[in-house]
Amino acid sequence: MTTQLPPGIQLEKVDERIMTLNVGPQHPGSGHMRLIIRVDGDRIVSCDPDPGYVHRGEEKMAEYRNYITNIPHLERPVIHDSCNILYPYCLGVEELLGLQVPERAKYVRVIASELNRFTYTLYWLAIYGIFLGHSTMFMWPAGDREFAIDLLEKLTGARVTHAYFVPGGVRNDLPANFEDVCLRQVNYLEKRLKTYGDIFYDNPILISRTEKTGVLSRQDAIRLGTTGTVLRASGVDYDLRVKEPYDVYDELDVHTNVLKNGDSYDRSKTPWLDMLESCNIIRQALEKMPKSGSVRVKLKPNPKGGNDEVYKRVESGRGALGAYIVSRSKPEPYRVKLSVGSFRNLICMPHLLKGEKLGNMPAVYWSLNYWPVEADR
């Protein structure tokens, strides 16, 4: 009598050489997701990522909320990069409702999203450091992140869940002397970032641990549709802020950092170079920002989008983050799909970890700039 297995669970043929390891959700070496790794001795034979432990059905819930109350809800997948995940949604809704965002609001958005790039990337770098056992590389980024968080707290009123971007602009204008405080702290943050080179990126032990591990060739990077720092580390020069400039990025000159050999070392370096680039962008935006003008367009009480759909993309901390919004002339969007960078980079995991040593698993896994909560949505 064969017992009827619940759907989705199969019996596994036990092979004495291959051992199955659950680098599970609670494992100190993996985020909130499980990697079912089959190991032959020290070599990984196959890796099957099993995300979904923090799936909250964001897209289903988005269909029950109107365009404004979706804001604090849709930032939940990655709350410490909340401006960047709300950016495509706001751009899409603005195109649906035909709103003209004032010029100053666009500059404020650029500053807020670049500051958010700091908070996300420094948090990611801190975890990358502790995965490799480098406790200072956990403490320094976690400490330096406080500069960006302090600025965002002054700007948006909340440390992490800002809910600051709204269809039609931003929620409030810059506080009193925000410009020079921002300039001073961003300059100091840049000085701090430069010190990471000696202790982390030129550290021979780190280089030996991450170089030539998990090599993603240029063709594979394109074929697998990866995005963001993972793509730029494999030699593809593609940064949405330059290729498809949204808002005012065409008026700022953004330089994309591209590295060639696509191993975990380069994938750990590109976010760092991007952060150094963000410092310049913030400085330019602070200069070019029009000094006066409103930062938000007044919305009708219950705006209804037309019978239409829109797909907008933004360069977030983890790559191209797209929002596909279908509206059927009702206050609630008919369907919201967030195409997030982490989910697109997830495909690399089985591809890169096959044949890798078990000791390299944390270095390769976290170098893919993968945020489990965002991938599960």
Binding site: Y64, R65, I68, P72, E153, D198, P204, R296
Partner: protein, 165 residues
Amino acid sequence: MGTATGIIRALNSGIKHIAVKRFTLRYPEQKLKFVGDGYQFDPTSGVGIAGYKGRHMLFHDHCTGCQLCSIACEGVAEAIAMVKVPETWKQNKKSIMPQIDYGKCVFCGLCVDACPFYALYMTNDYELSSFSKEALIYTPSQLQVKPQVNQDVDIIIDDRGATHG
């Protein structure tokens, strides 16, 4: 000899950082200063005023009991319930005012944006912990009290490093 120079440079950078100032904010003694005294919203111009999104503050003399804040919160956290209030105000016929349950509130400030009568603002007070979930529910009379907070520490950056002073 990349490794040797790399090791020496790393050691040198480590030792140099022993002289840099310590950056930790010693929370209970030092509290970070915020801009203004809380997030506010100006319904006429439709734009908020920058400020920290902490505990709400309700002005009983402006509130008309129109429930717009609790309708706004329905989509987000359902944290605002309208509650009978003993006082009688001429502009608040049903004399009902918002009661905020901080066990649910996510401090997004959409209720402040929704209030057309300058009645609901946010303050700098974020120390709302309590011993029971019921104590997290703030009645309108509790929300009326302006919290006095001594937050006076800011980030100081000088040549020997940044610290909270």
